[in-house]
Symmetry: C2
Subunit: 346 residues, 2 copies
């Protein structure tokens, strides 16, 4: 077991100083060609690589990005990571991920763990619990220590950082408009409680689309699911609530769901009630993941381009890291959604 070789060891072996070795390896003109070649040959032979930690300490840059997300077993989030990793890697950065599990405490702990020098900046999406408690001191403290943050998807507006979001309102509006154009008269929305910003915004889009087409919203058509519960029978509860929705609205002929799971569950329930999709009921979901693609019938969805969101977030962060001299101004980038039409709509 040969430990990694250091400058000091090379210096000792070749009987020169550490500075000489360092300079020789970086092709400094201070060093004679003789010495340079000698050092470089030796370094190559022993496969010398500068120690990253030492470099980080010296440069006070780690070339590492910290990602904090609520969960990783989730198509959207892993797509985002994928995008971040892509551009980060291209620019010589590593990514280190922390999971909050939707918990405020874990979010705080994770951030503290990383903020002490391990990383240069954060890319994150806020935990539900944090959104609920509306306690954002950890973000503000991190920022005030000079560590930039980029938020995506689940954001809160009055924090001084760049943000990458999807136009939830517009995306939802597009989807619901599609349903209306396809002839749906009674369109339900299955959404989350309002404290989840994306749920709230998509609901808003739903309402706006109705309004645009002079349709009066009906309270019984709006189902706000409480997704705080992560219990085992969560799925049953969900299914039950959706069944109620169908029972209360016999003439339901369109469903807009704010995520994949709600959408396919709605399809399942519809089938249970003997409705054919898309002939009797048309369904559109939000977030284009594996489920939508491979469901039967395949699901028409609003794609939010998770990969692109990740790429953009990484670009914003790295730009900020490498142009600290620029005056501070923060942008909110909106990634356009696309409606991907499949077989759950006509």
């Amino acid at each position: 077991m040969k430990r990694k070789i250091t400058l000091k060891q090379i210096a000792r072996e070749l009987d020169v100083s550490i500075s000489t070795v360092s300079k020789a390896l970086r092709n400094s003109s201070e060093i004679s060609e003789d010495t340079r070649e000698k050092v470089q040959a030796f370094a190559k032979l022993y496969n010398y690589r500068p120690n990253n930690i030492a470099l980080s300490l010296k440069n006070r840059k780690t070339k590492t990005i910290g990602i904090i997300i609520p969960e990783i077993v989730h198509h959207f989030f892993s797509k985002v990571i994928s995008g971040i990793e892509l551009v980060a890697n291209k620019k010589g950065y590593n990514v280190i991920v922390g999971l909050s599990n939707e918990s405020f405490d874990k979010e705080v702990i994770n951030m503290e763990m990383l903020a002490n020098g391990s990383i240069d900046g954060f890319i994150l999406s806020i935990a539900k619990e944090t959104l609920l408690q509306q306690d954002y001191h950890h973000f503000n403290e991190t920022i005030s220590q000079g560590m930039p943050i980029v938020m995506f998807d689940r954001i809160v507006n009055d924090i001084k950082c760049d943000k990458v979001i999807v136009d939830d309102v517009k995306g939802a509006k597009k989807a619901v408009a599609k349903l209306i154009e396809n002839g749906c008269k009674q369109i339900a929305i299955i959404t989350t409680k309002d404290y989840v910003s994306v749920g709230r915004l998509r609901t808003q889009g739903y309402l706006e689309a109705l309004e645009d087409h002079k349709i009066h919203p009906k309270a019984s058509l709006i189902l706000k699911v409480d997704d705080k519960l992560v219990s085992e029978d969560y799925l049953d509860v969900l299914e039950n609530e959706i069944e109620q929705l169908f029972k209360q609205n016999k003439k339901l002929d369109g469903v807009f769901a704010v995520n994949e799971l709600y959408a396919i569950t709605a399809m399942k329930v519809a089938r249970k009630f003997g409705k054919h999709i898309p002939n009797d009921v048309q369904v559109i979901g939000f977030t284009d993941g594996v489920l939508s693609k491979h469901a039967t019938p395949s699901l028409t969805t609003v794609s939010q381009h998770g990969q692109k969101i990740g790429e953009k977030a990484a670009e914003l962060l790295i730009h900020k890291l490498e142009h600290e001299e620029e005056e501070e101004r923060f942008q909110t980038v909106i990634i356009e959604t696309d409606l991907i039409e499949r077989d759950s709509t006509k």
Copy 2:
């Protein structure tokens, strides 16, 4: 913007030496109660946190684990990460992830990027391209530099490291035995080319199950899909091949697929041929992900417990990191699979 405070700054402010501050904060008995309290109060006020990078350099430990996986947008892998993160975090470790995208070069580059001091050890699953080329020098080099590796799922045997695998043979065997017990006479397997070890092993399990029940394997019932192609029409190609399978075997009444996608595609094709599931054809998949759970009908699968694999891998690695004095011996832990029965079997 107040930069993070350091020992040196505290020392200067309180007019004591750096060592005194350090000791005071670590409650050394060398320091008088007076000074200790003074220092701790000051440190708390300014929210002092030791700089991780400096600690890493000093201790030559980063308390960080490097993960290299082929892709992250994949239920199994994200489950594994989830498990790793869980136990890593509990033990004060961070995780830093690199994606190989199934490419040999990216795998090598990623490992080199992390091996220079950024992490203490690796947990990884080998890229397909690497398995194909059978070039494992980067693993061996890393190990010979004293950096432990734990491999999971896609492993290669003759590398000196701990391994966590699923009993692919046994899992497959269980599944196929189930089909046989359920009355299937003509059982097909949809698998990958043999260089992917998990595909090979699951095929082996399939054959063993048949043999156990005195059933002669038929070549036409074995479909080895080439999943090197990641093209856009990959799905179509897959579907086509499976259609051929059904056409060539009119009396096909059972399908064992080595992953979710193959399984639900098989269900799709079966439906297309007018076969009812599970009455006419029963299907079992491998890897219990979202697709299986939410497919219609829901899919009976062999669950490989990705989370548990991750947890075990992390435990092995951390143990090795924290007990370097122990004699070197490497274990291969086998995580048992479970057959999760759902609606695609009788």
